[in-house]
Symmetry: C2
Subunit: 326 residues, 2 copies
DNA sequence: TTGTACGCGTTATCAC
DNA sequence: GTGATAACGCGTACAA
């Protein structure tokens, strides 16, 4: 039960602390016989390095920081993303420090604090915004940062994104192939980077007109947007909803209007999740493997800390899963 | 940019490191004039304590550890719980270390590692099981632990739970009041502590018979359980589903059987979430404010670290929100 | 090839 | 009361 330190190992092995450290870390500078003796003693005593001492001496904390907006609570995939990322970190003996923030200001303050306290080796920024103030700050702060989002929005920071352009292409192909020419889109807020990227991709798509209604994705807002889209004359024959919960709300709203899915209106969700498969009808969805994306981000941030990553890359490609709603 | 240390402050203020530390931490042992001088110098230099050094010297890391099962990814309320908890921790200058585990063994190994590395001051155990091996381990490990769950399942560990008995009472009252005498329950796995507690509460309830189908809550399992419940002769007039996604799947299954909600079968969900309010019909749900519960657990674990908490207590009481499905 | 000293903040122990 | 000193724990640059 008594805590074992390298001093104790050094005493028992009859060498200095420094030699013990070299031996345990596989560094050169000790003879093979000394190394073997030290390793044997350490194993006998069940020695485990004190993490605080390690963080203090080395320049590394083996810790990655992640700040989530409190509003991210709604998104069902966030935790899956975190899980994918943490799996990679754990495999490389890194730990994840998690903080929730009520707004951008609080988040920025958190980054400053972590940087000055030397709490983390790097941070991951999620749900990047258009002209994101966090990106601006982190560019000037002495804290390595990886943006989990489109490299074009990362302002020069390292980034690992999802190829939403490819997702839009797949979605448009699917809809056009089924004869849809006018499509509604009940999207998340326009300042979200993801929404911005898709906007441009939709605008560039040929053979289809997209009518976007940016909302906060609450039930009431989705209902209102759906009614507006379907209330006019030249109504869309398909509607895209951002996220499973919004898709469920959309199905309900369409049903209340006396329309049927997919006969009267087709429905597609951006961002596949478990709930998409259990609605009636089941929801066609486009989305990537969120856990795999999180893993790619985890690899990315480790590369950043290790000096191996530069610039941006795509970590996942969304695919279309066709179900009954389209 | 150059990092400021207390040694530097001591040099500039003309005192020793120790005196600086006492002054900065409001400890007695330095004169008022010395304290003022030290504080002024520290403020001028923008000094911030290095977290690693603080963890090393003190016996505390100001870190709370939380391990989530990878399967918890499905539960929409988990992140909200974490958010509520982290908010309290942040307010007390504590940070949250998050780890995902694939199984109980991996989780237990993680606790051992944290304990031996002195990574955290305490851990929070969520989704406690009947005869939980984690509880058994943590009781013998030198690592303070708080069980987020029923004190009766905590095996002597400190616990902060949800009063599910009160929730069952509210639910039974509601159903009996509407004339239901036979109720189906598509529950989560029977080895979950939460399910176990509700089982006993349902068994003790008078005036109502509950037919439980324990499932893994996947879409297919919910569908099968619903069909079994509604296929027989003496079929229940109401069904309780564990969780919003299961409720959505249940609605779909009931619809496919040609039955209507709530006219033919009433539906109630255990565990309110955003999706319950946007289905058609909207789902009656019983559940507590998960963020508030998380906050209570956060307070609890801080009390545990501070030596102020003993035994178990209830951190939240579920309430019934009646919507259109019952 | 091995030993020594230093960094970092807190705190127990000591000298005045 | 007031303040200095040393120890904690590890990694590593440097001296021996």
């Amino acid at each position: 039960m008594a805590r074992v330190t390298i001093t104790e190992i050094a005493r028992r092995a009859g060498v200095s602390k420094g030699a013990v450290s070299y031996a345990l870390n596989g560094q050169p500078g000790v003879s093979a016989s000394t190394r073997a003796r030290v390793l044997r003693v350490a194993a006998e005593l069940d020695w485990v390095p004190n993490s605080a001492a390690r963080m203090l001496s080395g320049a590394r904390t083996d810790t990655i920081g992640l700040v989530l907006a409190r509003g991210a609570t709604r998104e069902p995939s966030v935790l899956e993303f975190v899980a994918g990322m943490e799996t990679v970190l754990a495999r490389h003996a890194q730990v994840l420090l998690l903080r929730m923030a009520s707004g951008v200001d609080e988040e920025v303050a958190g980054y400053r604090k972590w940087a000055s306290e030397r709490r983390v080796d790097a941070v991951v920024v999620v749900e990047v915004l258009v002209d994101d103030p966090r990106v601006a700050l982190l560019g000037s702060l002495d804290l390595p940062a990886l943006v989990a989002g489109d490299p074009g929005l990362a302002g020069g920071l390292a980034a690992v994104g999802v190829d939403d352009g490819a997702g839009v292409t797949a979605l448009v192909e699917h809809l056009v192939g089924r004869g849809h020419r006018t499509v509604g889109w009940v999207s998340g807020p326009a300042h979200l980077g993801r929404v911005h990227v898709r906007e441009r991709a939709f605008a560039a798509a040929e053979g289809i007109a997209v009518r976007q209604h940016a909302t906060d994705l609450t039930g009431g807002a989705v209902d209102a947007a759906t009614r507006e889209l379907l209330g006019g004359d030249d109504r869309p024959t398909a509607i895209v909803y951002d996220g499973g919960p919004a898709g469920v709300a959309g199905l309900s709203a369409i049903g209340r209007l006396g329309l049927r899915v997919p006969d009267d209106v087709a429905v597609v969700v951006w961002g596949d999740s478990a709930v998409c498969g259990v609605t009636e009808p089941a929801l066609t969805a486009v989305g990537c493997d969120v856990a795999a994306y999180g893993a790619a981000v985890g690899e990315g941030v480790l590369g950043l800390v290790g000096g191996r990553l530069r610039g941006g890359m795509m970590g996942a490609v969304p695919t279309l899963r066709v179900r009954d709603s389209s």
